[in-house]
């Protein structure tokens, strides 16, 4: 490994280990799996979760969701 590459590696290592890695006890592997999908291009996950939330809202309130949208549209 060249000196420049080694220094770059050390710098990156220090940057990554600056904050201790997050653990959540026995749920750590599941947490790591979820977080790894959010670290780079999180949009597919965000869209899937959002579609699920909105589908839930539609199942609960039916066409009354248009009322919520009308309120939100006036909310700016």
């Amino acid at each position: 490994m060249t000196d420049a590459m080694y220094h770059k590696f050390v710098k990156r290592w220090e940057e990554v280990t600056d904050i201790p890695p997050q653990t959540v006890g026995p749920l750590t592997p599941a947490y790591k799996t979820v977080v790894s999908k959010l670290k780079v291009m999180p949009w597919p996950v965000l869209v899937i979760v959002s579609v699920a939330v909105v589908a839930g809202l539609y199942a609960l309130f039916g066409s009354a969701i248009t009322l919520l949208v009308s309120i939100l549209q006036k909310g700016f």
Binding site: E15, D18, I19, P20, Q22, V24, Y31, V35, L38, K39, V40, M41, P42, W43, L46, V47, V49, S50, V51, V53, V54, L57, Y58, S63, I65, T66, L67, L68, V69, S70, I71, L72, Q73, K74, G75, F76
Partner: protein, 205 residues
């Protein structure tokens, strides 16, 4: 100063793309290496938005009323930003976090990007497809798409807020959850105050 502004502009552009494609890595860079000058670009985007929002809200060319509306919106957003940074600092101190004003100012500043995207798009849609929505098939379809879009931006905002606390205050997940529980009622109260004052129906946080 011009030199610093130019560099900050390039950094802002890079970070803007970064929070879309690689939010985790980008936030780490923002809080450690970011420049406060970058906030100038976020402020400029907000100012342009408030100018446009004033015109849409007032819907008439009355310079005095438009200026007053702009000052009210910009003043309230500025106060909210300072309020949020102070709230993060205070709750961070209560939970014995490493509080750094610079890191919080930068971190929270970039969380305004999803807010701005939502407010911009809602304002534009207000002109193109003004409310109220009907319960026809098209009305429901638009409502579903709009709600999905809003939810995506909300989750993006929550993610960037989490990263602000994670890197800005160097906290772990349990402390971040404690902090969120402490902050939510205060933010709720603040949002009601803004609503009652007739400034923002949806808070510009």
């Amino acid at each position: 100063m011009a030199h610093e502004l130019l560099i900050a502009g390039l950094l802002f552009g890079r970070n803007f793309v970064g929070i879309i494609t690689r939010p985790y890595e980008t936030y780490r860079r923002i809080v450690t290496k970011g420049s406060l000058w970058e906030l100038g670009y976020i402020a400029a985007l907000c100012a342009v938005y408030f100018a446009v929002a004033s015109v849409i809200k007032i819907a008439a060319f009355r310079p005095f009323i438009l200026t007053r509306q702009f000052i009210v919106l910009a003043g309230a957003a500025c106060t909210t930003y300072i309020f949020m940074v102070l709230l993060l600092s205070l709750t961070g101190k209560v939970l014995h976090a490493e509080v750094s004003a610079r890191r919080l100012l930068l971190g929270w500043g970039y969380t305004l990007i999803p807010t701005l995207v939502w407010f911009w798009s809602t304002s534009i849609l207000y002109i193109l497809l003004p409310p109220p929505r009907t319960t026809s098939a098209y009305g429901i379809l638009f409502s579903v798409v709009y709600l999905v879009f809003s939810a995506v931006l909300l989750f993006w905002k929550i993610m960037l807020s989490y990263l602000t606390m994670r890197f800005g205050l160097r906290m772990d997940l349990s402390k971040i959850m404690h902090m969120t529980v402490m902050m939510v009622p205060v933010i709720g109260w603040y949002s009601i105050v803004l609503y009652r004052m007739g400034i923002f129906r949806i808070p510009f946080i």
